[in-house]
């Protein structure tokens, strides 16, 4: 099991002291009506927007008295917001200003610069140092506080870890005793930064169906069902691992995929803080694991639209 990642700070830290809210958005210069965000969610879905430039206006609000986190009466703090994108290895500061109770800022995203999921994270930083005092961060550039991260999906399959690579291999040729020729697939998590589903390529018919990109027709329906058959146990395995390996307090994990799956599951299932924090003990208690298993099964069926895939298949066979 992967180790949990928690930042231990030898000074008082204003955790979650910054609230970010999406105020409005423009797609390619036009203000759009409607909402991008579900109530209480911090995920924005732009996957169906087909934009070149998206402009998102956020407001921020400091929800704590930050003078408690400094020995000075008027601490020299600033707010800083950064945008990150793992896939394009991009990290930019989009807001940096002296601290005040509230304010607004814009995030301008050009599709050409990003792929997958974009993260927006705020933090409070010391601008200057002061004399050392126990319990306080007194060095220049120390991070004093933070706020919950927002995510923006601009491509399908970037959330919930569903973009796992599928690789065809001849299982009879592989020198791995865990993989045998009579298996159809195997989840390779030897490198959690890049998990893979290995598919046994012995059946050319099956491979052709899996490679099919059509959205309609008999083969498209068979492909969807085949994908479900492979993905369901694989995602179950990965999700359990993610729930066990992610720090419930910070949502941090050693691997981005685990973090993304943890976040996807807890948000979709409307887990509150208390329930998230109890996950660790749930996983250690056999009687509670059963209930969690049912929830994971429900989540995966919803996520992969399995009832819809089955219905489409039935319609195709019957017509």
């Amino acid at each position: 099991m992967a180790s949990r990642k928690t930042t231990l700070r030898p000074y008082s830290f204003a955790e979650n002291c910054i609230d970010l809210e999406l105020e409005s958005f423009k797609i390619d210069g036009s203000i759009r009506k409607g909402t991008l965000v579900d109530e209480g969610s911090k995920s924005i879905d732009l996957t169906s927007k087909g934009f070149e430039t998206a402009t998102l206006k956020f407001s921020y609000n400091i929800n704590e008295d930050l003078s408690e986190y400094s020995p000075e009466d008027e601490p020299p703090f600033e707010i800083l917001v950064k945008v990150q994108n793992i896939t394009t290895h991009t990290r930019r500061v989009i807001l940096r200003e002296n601290i005040k109770d509230s304010g607004t800022f814009e995030v301008i995203l050009q599709r050409k610069d990003f792929r997958g999921q974009i993260e927006i994270e705020p933090e409070i930083v010391r601008q200057d140092s002061t004399h050392q005092q126990q319990g306080y961060a007194t060095d220049t550039r120390k991070i004093i506080g933070d706020g919950a991260e927002w995510t923006i999906d601009i491509d399908e399959n970037s959330a919930s870890g569903s973009g796992i690579a599928c690789v065809c291999e001849d299982f009879s040729e592989l020198e791995d005793e865990r993989i045998t020729a009579d298996m159809m697939f195997y989840l390779d998590i030897s490198n959690m930064d890049e998990p893979k589903i290995l598919l046994n390529q012995k059946s050319e018919k099956m491979r052709n169906i899996m490679d099919n990109r059509a959205s309609q027709g008999k083969n498209a329906r068979i492909r969807d069902i085949l994908n479900d058959v492979v993905f369901l146990p694989v995602m179950y395995q990965l999700l359990l691992r993610s729930l066990a390996s992610t720090d419930p307090k910070t949502g941090e994990s050693s691997h981005p995929l685990e973090r993304s799956m943890f976040r996807g599951f807890t948000r979709k299932m409307d887990y509150d803080e208390e329930k998230i924090e109890s996950l660790a003990s749930t996983l250690e208690n056999p009687s509670e694991v059963e209930e969690l298993s049912s929830e994971i099964a429900r989540y995966l069926q919803i996520e992969r639209d399995i009832p819809e895939d089955i219905q489409k298949m039935i319609n195709r066979v019957q017509n």
Binding site: T87, T88, S129, I143, E194, D211
Partner: protein, 244 residues
């Protein structure tokens, strides 16, 4: 005229042991079924000529010499956005369809071991995968180190150290351009063994210090401080203040 194309994932099952060893060619008719046109147009004749020229002229040169020679070339010839360059299908097209002989040439091992599959294939848009494949790794190192000020000077420095090469698409703080430049200015020439000691200390610092709030001079102080003191308890911020 040859244009850059996409090789879709359906073709990847054709990359087997014999192809990797160079003992067989792939059936071009079958392979062509998986070739698609991207939504942009880039001519690659000049790139392919330059790759061929390097293979011809540099023969058995050190691998780092080949990388230094080609990284800026690949980057200049392939005018891609970062979004385009994170699409595995363009890199798989170059390494499997156009120049598999380059992958064998660059990654050939003296002891007869076969070239690893991930030097040919980018499986996903993950940074690890892009940092391993023969062509994509060259482009991405150049992309992350090029600056108008010094051109590709930093790019060449990266190839002097395997640790730098692995690091540059590793931790989240390496996504910041100023960190990359500060790292290369302060630590270029340091032995890999020493770098392996220093880098965890830097990762630790970035969890409590905001690298996003630091300018390049401060970052150099942070990084250089770790190297000079090599002592996690050293008051390296004093050094930063002296520099600023």
């Amino acid at each position: 005229m040859t244009e850059l194309k996409l090789l879709t994932n359906g073709a990847l099952h054709m990359v087997d042991r014999e192809f990797i060893k160079g003992n067989k060619e792939l059936d071009s008719t079958k392979l062509s079924k998986y070739v698609e046109q991207p939504d942009f147009s880039i001519e690659i004749d000049s790139l392919l000529d330059k790759v061929d020229e390097v293979m011809e002229k540099h023969g058995s040169s050190k691998k780092s010499v080949i990388d230094k020679k080609l990284a800026s070339t690949v980057h200049k010839e392939l005018d891609l956005t970062r979004r385009q360059a994170s699409n595995p299908e363009i890199w798989n097209y170059l390494s499997i369809y156009e120049r598999p002989e380059f992958v064998r040439y660059r990654w050939n091992k003296q002891d007869g071991e076969k070239v690893a599959k991930n030097r040919y294939i980018v499986r996903s848009s993950s940074k690890q995968s892009l940092n391993r494949q023969a062509f994509s790794s060259l482009w991405w190192v150049a992309e992350l180190t090029y600056s108008e000020e010094v051109g590709y000077d930093y790019t060449e420095k990266v190839f002097d150290s395997q640790e730098f090469k692995n690091w540059i698409m590793g931790p989240s703080y390496s996504r910041k351009d100023e960190v990359v430049r500060a790292m290369l200015r302060e630590l270029h020439g340091v032995q890999d063994e020493k770098l392996r000691e220093i880098l965890p200390g830097l990762t630790e610092r970035t969890s409590t210090y905001s690298i996003d709030a630091m300018n390049e001079k401060e970052l150099r102080g942070l990084i250089g401080g770790l190297h000079d003191f090599n002592d996690k308890d050293a008051d390296f911020m004093t050094k930063i203040k002296n520099l600023v």
